[in-house]
């Protein structure tokens, strides 16, 4: 073996060590994070999911910088995360590891996280401001008497309808499920379908149907959605008429199908209202999901995003103070966040009342529907329960017997709930 090759081998080794060291350095710095302010003693990591609206990422960074300006000791490293479908999975994985965020968003609040000791109670930072919050939100975030999260925006989901198309077909917005089925059928002509509730033809409709029949998903420590077999069975009619739009390019939470006239009615959120207004002017209205029959009630779904503090964070107090500053005290920021990037409702009633964008036209109607008819998911609801429930509803839409199918899914959900309540 020549000395030449021996040396080049050593050179190779050195180079590879340099490479390994280099990539270790590169990986240990957070590529998504923003630069923390110099001189801060504490840096909080705050996770957001990826909002679709333009300007949202810059906005949350701006809020964080304003906090550091007012409190130079604390910097906030905003991490802009995955879209809604992947965000919770990634967050859950991160919460198990060492690099967990101090503050994070939750789409659906999970009481299980509080019971498992993953969330920090926030009662002390709410203080007397608690009374000013939407009561439904407080109920939703309370687990065993303590508040574990802070709503940053409330989302109201409603039925959008095209006034001109309804007028042409000679129909009015439906007030019962039977009317909804008929109206959707009347409105289906040529390239336009009557109703869009999701690409799978299911979307959130099983929840809405159950609630509109006056039934709940969970009552105390019992899963009870099989009581709603009658209304969920209605999915079969909706599907056999071929009046629901299926397989569009964007899903129900995007107004695309409605603004492009692929559907005359669409279930969508208040967030899409500015887009719809821009595309259709005043040729649209909003209504709640109709009552199932005269014994039922009209409903709308209440969603939104909640921020919570990681119970294992090393900087719990700083994190809580920051949340208090941002989502209780900074009402201007709250209004900016709620209506400048799609429409949402600020969770503090007084703030919502003085948000100009929400006090006129269809937005005002939608907010009123949310207040009057809004229902949230139960906090004990999990993704497994959701998957089982939606799968049962999808089977029913294809013709499975409603009672039997729902009871089977309900039994599985009950065993999940029993485990959760421990």
């Amino acid at each position: 073996m020549s000395a030449r090759s021996a040396l080049s081998r050593r050179g190779f080794l050195g180079t590879s060590l340099l490479f390994v060291a280099g990539s270790a350095v590169a990986c240990s710095s957070n590529p998504q994070g923003t630069a923390a302010a110099k001189g801060a003693k504490v840096t909080l990591t705050q996770w957001y999911h990826q909002y679709g609206e333009e300007g949202t990422q810059a906005a949350v960074k701006r809020y964080a910088e304003e906090y550091t300006k007012a409190n130079p000791d604390v910097a906030v490293n905003v991490v802009w995360g995955a879209d809604t479908s992947q965000y919770e999975t990634k967050l859950n994985a991160a919460l198990l590891g060492a690099d967990a965020p101090d503050i994070f968003e939750l789409g659906d609040f999970r009481a299980e996280m509080a019971r498992k000791g993953q969330l920090e109670p926030l009662d002390d930072i709410y203080g007397s401001a608690k009374d000013g919050f939407n009561q439904a939100d407080l109920d939703y975030l309370t687990v065993d008497g303590k508040l574990y999260g802070m709503k940053t925006i409330d989302d109201v989901m409603v039925l959008y309808y095209r006034k001109s198309l309804l007028k042409k077909a000679g129909v009015t917005p439906p007030t019962t499920f039977a009317e909804l089925v008929d109206t959707a059928k009347e409105l289906t002509t040529g390239g336009v379908k009557g109703l869009f509730i999701g690409n799978d033809g299911i979307g959130d409709s099983p929840y809405l149907l159950a609630w509109s029949q006056g039934k709940d998903l969970i009552d105390g420590d019992k899963v009870v959605y099989a009581d709603a077999a009658k209304s969920i069975g209605g999915l079969r009619d909706l599907h056999s008429d071929k009046s629901v739009l299926l397989g569009f390019t964007t899903d129900w939470y995007d107004a695309g199908a409605f603004t492009q006239s692929a559907a005359a009615m669409q279930w969508c959120g208040l967030w899409a209202l500015p887009t719809i207004e821009k595309a259709l002017g005043d040729d649209f209205g909003v209504a709640p999901w109709p009552a199932y029959d005269k014994n039922g009630r009209p409903v709308a779904r209440l969603g939104g995003w909640t921020q919570a503090v990681n119970a294992k964070s090393k900087h719990k107090d700083e994190a809580k103070k920051y949340l208090q500053w941002l989502w209780i005290k900074q009402t201007d920021i709250q209004i900016d966040w709620a209506v400048k990037y799609g429409f949402h409702v600020p969770p503090q009633t007084e703030v919502a009342a003085r948000t100009p964008e929400l006090s006129k036209g269809a937005a005002k109607d939608a907010v009123a529907i949310g207040t009057k008819n809004g229902v949230s998911f139960p906090a004990e609801w999990t993704q497994a329960m959701q998957a089982g429930f939606i799968a049962a509803a999808a089977d029913i839409a294809k013709g499975a017997a409603p009672e039997k199918t729902l009871e089977k899914a309900q039994a599985k959900a009950q065993s999940d709930l029993d485990k959760q309540m421990g």
Binding site: M1, A3, R4, A6, L7, R9, L13, V20, D83, T84, S85, E88, T89, N92, A93, L96, E112, M113, K116, Q118, G191, G198, N199, D200, G201, I202, G203, L245, L246, G247, F248, T249, D251, Y253, A262, T382, Q383, A384, Q386, A387, G388, F389, I390, A391, A393, A394, K398, K408, K412, K419, Q420
Partner: protein, 325 residues
């Protein structure tokens, strides 16, 4: 470019001290040293990121682990029992076995047929080879998005519906139509498009290793093309075929990407007409945070794959030494 003062020639001349020290190491030792240095990072990486993880997951499968990955809350075989009593998981197992039984022969026939055809082309063989292989470089998710949103979307402007309109067929929601189950057209075409090219390349390699004199002999004996394929080509491809079959079986049993990407509705799973075991386990472990049951499922699926592989080995034999003569 960086210019250093030392000339390359100077570097190659070892300093005397190094030379004496080097002489103490025998060639054998230095080879062993090089082996250790070069393989250690890979082995350590495999050990830490694969085998420790697999071992941990095995222990988790006997432990109750909701929203945690720490061990200690042992529950014996409860996780396995719970999973096997779950009808949705059992359905997914049945589905994947049927799916494998159908997709593997189809993929096998398609890639072998394509390999034979491309191998017979006299001009532009490289072009065809590349053209058919290219889809293998596309990510499953990206391809699934194209299939879902452009080719088989439910709107009249989707490619399939545009073609259908030429023949007077009404726009069809391909992915959402369950009777008849049109979504299989979407899933199968997508999988074939992505996979056939790669297996075709493997078959071509096998075909080119067949000695031409066998074909000459067959031609002299008056064998037609079909007889030549049956009696020369196919038997000579035995070890290639067995290896490819094995790869296909494993790929089919582990199906996840395109099923998930085609059927996920953005918010969550649930309404998909068929789900693979991995989709179910993704929901259990990663969405619902039940790592115990999720790990149990991973080992059940591994067991299924091992059984199928052993069964295949039993019937067809793993590549036999007899091929060489």
């Amino acid at each position: 470019m960086t210019v250093t003062g030392t000339r390359p020639l100077d570097k190659t001349r070892p300093a005397p001290v190094t030379a004496t020290r080097r002489r103490r190491l025998t060639e054998r030792q230095s080879k062993a040293f090089a082996f250790v240095v070069l393989t250690a990072p890979m082995l350590i990486g495999l050990g830490v990121f694969r085998y420790v993880a697999i071992g941990w997951s095995f222990l988790l499968s006997f432990s109750e682990a909701r929203r945690t990955i720490s061990l200690g809350n042992w529950v014996g075989f409860d996780n396995y029992r719970q999973l096997l009593s779950d009808e949705r998981f059992r359905d997914s197992l049945t589905m994947i076995v049927l799916f494998t039984a159908l997709i593997v022969p189809v993929t096998f026939a398609a890639s072998l047929g394509l390999a034979v055809l491309v191998n017979r082309v006299k001009r532009g063989r490289a072009f065809f080879r590349t053209a058919f292989l290219l889809p293998a470089a596309v990510s499953y998710v990206a391809a699934a998005m194209i299939w879902k949103m452009a080719l088989f979307s439910g709107v009249p402007s989707g490619l399939a519906n545009t073609l259908g309109a030429l023949f007077g067929v009404d726009p069809t929601p391909w992915i959402q139509t369950t009777s008849p189950p049109l979504y299989w057209i979407v899933l199968v075409t997508l999988r074939l498009w992505l996979q056939v090219g790669l297996y075709m390349i493997l078959f071509i390699a096998g075909l080119q290793a067949i000695p031409p004199h066998l074909y000459e002999a067959a031609a002299l004996d008056g064998a037609g093309p079909w007889r030549t394929f049956r009696s020369v080509t196919f038997p000579m491809l035995r070890s290639t075929s067995v290896a490819i079959l094995l790869l296909m079986l494993i790929a089919a049993l582990q199906a996840f990407d395109e099923f998930y990407a085609i059927f996920s509705t953005g918010a969550s799973l649930g309404s998909e007409p068929v789900r693979t075991p991995l989709m179910h386990l993704y929901g259990v472990a990663l969405q619902d945070q039940d790592y115990g049951v999720g790990s149990a499922g991973a080992f059940l699926l591994t067991l299924l794959i091992v059984l199928v592989t052993l069964l295949q080995g039993r019937i067809l034999g793993f590549s036999r030494a007899g091929d060489k003569d």
